[in-house]
Amino acid sequence: MSRSRAAAVLAAALMFGGLVGLPDLGAQAPGDRDARIALFARYVDALRAQAGIPGLSAAITAGGQILWEAGFGLADVEARVVAAPDTPYRIASLTKTFTSALLMQCHDAGTLTLDLPIRNYTAALGDTPASVRHVLSMTSESPPGSQYRYDGNRFGALTAVVEGCTGEPYRAALASRILNRLAMVDSVPGQDLMAPAPEVAALFEAAALDRYRRVLSRIAKPYVLRDGRTQLGEYPPPGIGASAGLISTVRDLARYDAALDARVLVSQESQSLAWTPFVLTNQRPSPYGLGWFSQPTAAGRAIWHYGLWPTFSSLLLKLPERGVTLILLANSDGLSARFPLAAGDVTVSPFARAFIAAVR
């Protein structure tokens, strides 16, 4: 080997070898749950940024208490109003869990038989043999009980069932039997209560209507993400029914979650029934119970629901074996739209996945 060739080989080896020895700057994950939840909080904002969500409010509850709460980003981008734990959002299909609670209250009171045909209450689904249980478990399509298919419109037929078994309009039943009972003072049964029709206004006292208007004046603005840019969008239809329409905050939903765990709203037996996967006619479990999803995860069983509208999204994820619940509300579709949550696996959501990793 010539001197110049040897020098070239040595120089190349030194240059390459020196660069290979870069230090690893990583750190070990913290061990205890509280530290991991604090770490999870930092994940939430990072995931929010990647999902292009303008504003997001979050809470984690444990043992009936709020363990952590926060707001990220902006509830109103134009007015620079920050998102906070008391920011009201349209919670979209999380409303279905309230419908479940109302129906299970009827079940407890003996005013509802879940196996009665839905056509006894409404003609909305035609002359189907499907029962209330089938509609509540998203298994009402032919033949009833044979397959799970998430369908918010069919679930909406349960509005009439709630009205039939409670003897009240849906929103009045929701207000009196859950929202008022739990002092969910920042929750409103329908955005149309900002300027209600006379027959709707007649359902509530003047003080309640004033409170509803004050809450609705603070509701997060609706946004869509187009070509990577946030644009003001449209609110969902202003009414309310069994499928969607409730306005709430993560703080109020934390109260709701605590009440569910304390069996304040529904008996232990009925709540267990709602949280147990429906068994299909082929004896396989569906991913859906009665108004709730239920599945095994790395952190034990998960009881959960999500909400999705083009301008709002939500997630309520309970991990009973860890005694914790995650509640997320957003003013865009970013919590749900990119993930096939309707199929029944919450771990397709990076937000859920990070939470499960934090508490497992």
């Binding site: 110049s4 060739r5 070239a8 080989v9 120089a11 190349a12 240059m15 390459f16 660069l19 290979v20 870069l22 690893d24 700057l25 990583g26 750190a27 994950a29 913290p30 991991r36 770490l39 999870f40 930092r42 994940y43 990072a46 995931l47 940024a49 990647q50 999902a51 990119r338 771990t347 397709v348 959501s349 990076p350 859920a352 996945r353 990070a354 499960i356 990793a357 934090a358």
Partner: protein, 195 residues
């Protein structure tokens, strides 16, 4: 069919056989930065769009205007910024490239330009502090670009290189935001040691 393919490969290989082997082989250590990065992985430290340091080396054979090289490059912090949430966020690539140099080696020009392109694999290694999005994926990828080489001595050249890498779309990133993919431009410099 197999015989025709074998003959074609033999002819293609024959095109690179030099009439006279002199300083045909080279080693090219490189350092550089990525630009215009984009990817489909969970991006906990918002690294998409940010420049990241690369290092690597290429080994090649350049008997005449056309040559071949195998290049290895790595960016240990491709998916990492502060390191608060991402423990490991490395990207590495191995590419087999064809290069076309003008003027061809052997000519007396002090400055040479080249274009280069090829295919290979990009390896992504991700691990976050909660271990929620740990991922090891290998994606088929291509790259194309070019550069210049300035002769310092007959055996040592200084090199500047710019190229664009794009991977295939891989599996849907489980628990992520979409399909796994990576694309980025890379600007690098190095010293070419010819043997």
């Amino acid at each position: 069919m197999t015989r025709r393919l074998a003959i074609s490969l033999l002819l293609a290989f024959g095109a690179f056989i030099p009439a006279r082997a002199e300083a045909d082989w080279f080693v090219r250590p490189l350092v550089g930065v990525s630009l215009m990065t984009d990817h489909g992985y969970v991006d906990l430290e918002q690294t998409a769009g940010k420049s990241k340091a690369f290092f690597g080396a290429a080994v090649g054979w350049q008997p005449n205007a056309l040559g071949l090289e195998v290049e290895f490059a790595a960016a240990p912090g491709f998916f990492r910024d502060t390191g608060d949430l991402v423990v490991e966020g490395a990207l590495s690539s191995v590419m087999g490239n064809v290069t076309w140099v003008l003027p061809r080696p052997g000519a007396s020009a002090r400055l040479r330009a080249y274009v280069s392109g090829g295919a290979g694999v990009i390896r992504v290694s991700l691990r976050d502090r909660l271990e929620a999005f740990a991922s090891r994926s290998t994606l088929i990828a291509g790259n194309a670009g070019g550069g210049i080489a300035v002769r310092v001595t007959p055996r040592i050249h200084i090199n500047g290189d710019a190229r664009y890498f794009k991977s295939q779309f891989g599996d849907h990133d489980q628990g992520g935001f979409g399909e796994e993919f990576v694309s980025f431009a890379r600007v690098s410099g190095g010293i070419v040691f010819r043997f």
